[in-house]
Symmetry: C2
Subunit: 138 residues, 2 copies
DNA sequence: CTAAAACCTCTAGCGGCTTTAGCTGCAAGA
DNA sequence: TCTTGCAGCTAAAGCCGCTAGAGGTTTTAG
């Protein structure tokens, strides 16, 4: 049996975060020692790794909850899981698109100031005036 | 003089957000009408536009506060402003790099499942096992 | 003059944690 | 055996950047 500290060490998820995941229903309420400390099995550690990996890929707690529920029912169709992954991919692509616009504007803004004083600073002027921008960036 | 609603309409910043910015010290405490409603000048509207634009470019409230403080002192050197813009550009580039890794993994994950049941779903397997990934994505 | 729209303050909520405070548990060294 | 000190516990608050709602007041249009 693993302590919560062991879980943290082997998965890289911080101790308070593990307790938070339990509270959020991603991890079931762990068994307790006589002294009321959490004790975990290997399968619970695996589940925590799953959660960590999913979080790293940007999935929400809610999406992860659905995936875990699904994975408890191997006979069900997996369309729902596939949809969640596809949606996350779309979300990531949208974010990239937005950030690339920002990158272009910020690059322009931060390379155009050849002044020394705030009075003529291109950064300040560019922030004050969106007309200098080349894109909409919403 | 403009009401808070006028400000919202002309800048696209929502009314509660304007009040929030005031609370955060980005907008100074507005003058009030006899009935205690906020009244703004054109320069305050310009400042709000500045704030909005900076937020759209991803700057934090804190960074915007610094920029506003700076812009009150046109004689000062603008190195600080330039640094803020450059840092934001770096931040955006980091985010893009991270998201591109995620995009690659998610693309792989969401195109590889040709199964019908959760039991063999590639999505579930890929999330459970980072070894199937091609990058670190931290 | 009235009714509706806009405004006010204050508080709570979102997501995904992190931090803090004030406890108790437990193992190892003297 | 005692003590020291890390590890664990709970509950609550804090973080960011808003957003939403309750419950009241002011302004404006007709
Ligand atoms: Zn400058
Ligand atoms: Zn712009
Ligand atoms: Zn599948
Ligand atoms: Zn991975």
């Amino acid at each position: 049996m693993l302590t919560i500290g062991d879980m943290a060490k082997t998965t890289g998820v911080k101790v308070p975060t593990i307790r938070y995941y339990e509270q959020m229903g991603l991890l079931s309420h762990a068994e307790r020692s006589e002294g009321n400390q959490r004790r975990y099995s290997r399968s619970e550690r695996d589940r925590l790794s799953f959660i960590k990996h999913a979080r790293e890929l940007g999935l929400t707690i809610e999406a992860i909850r659905e995936l875990i529920d699904l994975s408890q029912h191997p006979e069900k169709p997996c369309a729902e899981a596939d949809r969640i992954a596809a949606e996350q991919l779309a979300t990531v692509r949208q974010k990239i698109a937005k950030l690339k616009k920002l990158e272009a504007e910020l690059e322009r803004i931060s390379t155009h100031c050849h002044s020394n004083h705030v009075r003529d600073c291109y950064v300040i002027r560019a922030l004050a005036n969106h007309d200098l921008c080349e894109t909409d960036h919403d």
